[in-house]
């Protein structure tokens, strides 16, 4: 069974640009989560999508946004990039809230570098 996949693996942007990161969940999983791991820090929760809707959001500014598509894949968009947005962005997936099994399984991440 294929795991969570993310693309691209690396992304280099300049300040003020927009970045788009993509995630495909494990087959059968309806929930997708996004986390940011800045250098030397733990994972910080960004967003949770389930069944196409945003269900929860972490303490990040509105320029961090995303969406979930009908096939449950997801996109994270970061607008007006700032230097401190440089980080590893991890996507995770799980069964939906009604399934009673909430373990999140992570992809390999996208490393974003803002110059």
């Amino acid at each position: 069974e294929a795991g969570v996949t993310q693309s691209p693996t690396h992304l280099i942007k300049t300040r003020g640009q927009q970045a788009t990161l993509r995630c495909s969940p494990i087959s059968g999983h309806t929930s997708v989560y996004w986390y940011q791991q800045a250098l030397g820090l733990g994972l910080q929760f960004l967003l949770w999508y389930d069944e196409g809707e945003e269900r929860n959001r972490g303490n990040f500014p509105p320029r961090f946004s995303g969406r979930q598509f009908p096939n449950y894949s997801s996109e994270l968009n970061v607008n007006a990039l700032e230097l401190e947005d440089s980080a590893l962005y991890l996507c995770a997936s799980s069964l939906g809230p009604g399934a009673g099994q909430e373990t999140q399984y992570f992809g390999p991440g996208t490393r974003l570098l803002v110059l």
């Binding site: 733990g42 994972l43 929760f45 949770w48 809230p97």
Partner: protein, 113 residues
């Protein structure tokens, strides 16, 4: 405000011995806890979890202990193997807050021959 704390940034243990990783939390609303392992250039891999209604959960070489009164959990790895060398993250979720895991900063474990 870091509600999940892993106060030991690193741990060195000999192969075959026990590794004990500690995690403290401050939020009494946490009711579900997980441990993840992360190798460089890979995403975290789920290891083991525990619900707040239990005080111990075991899976092979991995055992997680939860002490709710002390707001403390620990992960025991017995016996430690070279492949266990990785960063270990403790994570917690608030009751009725599905989806939002809060992670500690991680503990780097090095298993030596």
């Amino acid at each position: 405000d870091q509600q999940v704390k892993q106060n030991s940034p690193s741990l060195s243990v000999q192969e075959g011995r026990i590794s004990i990783l500690n995690c403290d939390y401050t939020n009494s609303m946490f009711d579900y806890f997980l441990w993840y392992k992360k190798y460089p250039a890979e995403g975290p891999t789920f290891l083991i979890s525990i619900s707040s209604i239990k005080d111990k959960n075991e899976d092979g070489r991995f055992t997680v202990f939860l002490n709710k009164s002390a707001k403390h959990l620990s992960l025991h790895i017995v016996p430690s193997q070279p492949g266990d060398s990785a960063v270990y993250f403790c994570a917690a979720r608030e009751v009725d807050s599905w989806g939002k895991l809060q992670f500690g900063a991680g503990t780097q474990v090095v298993v030596t021959p």
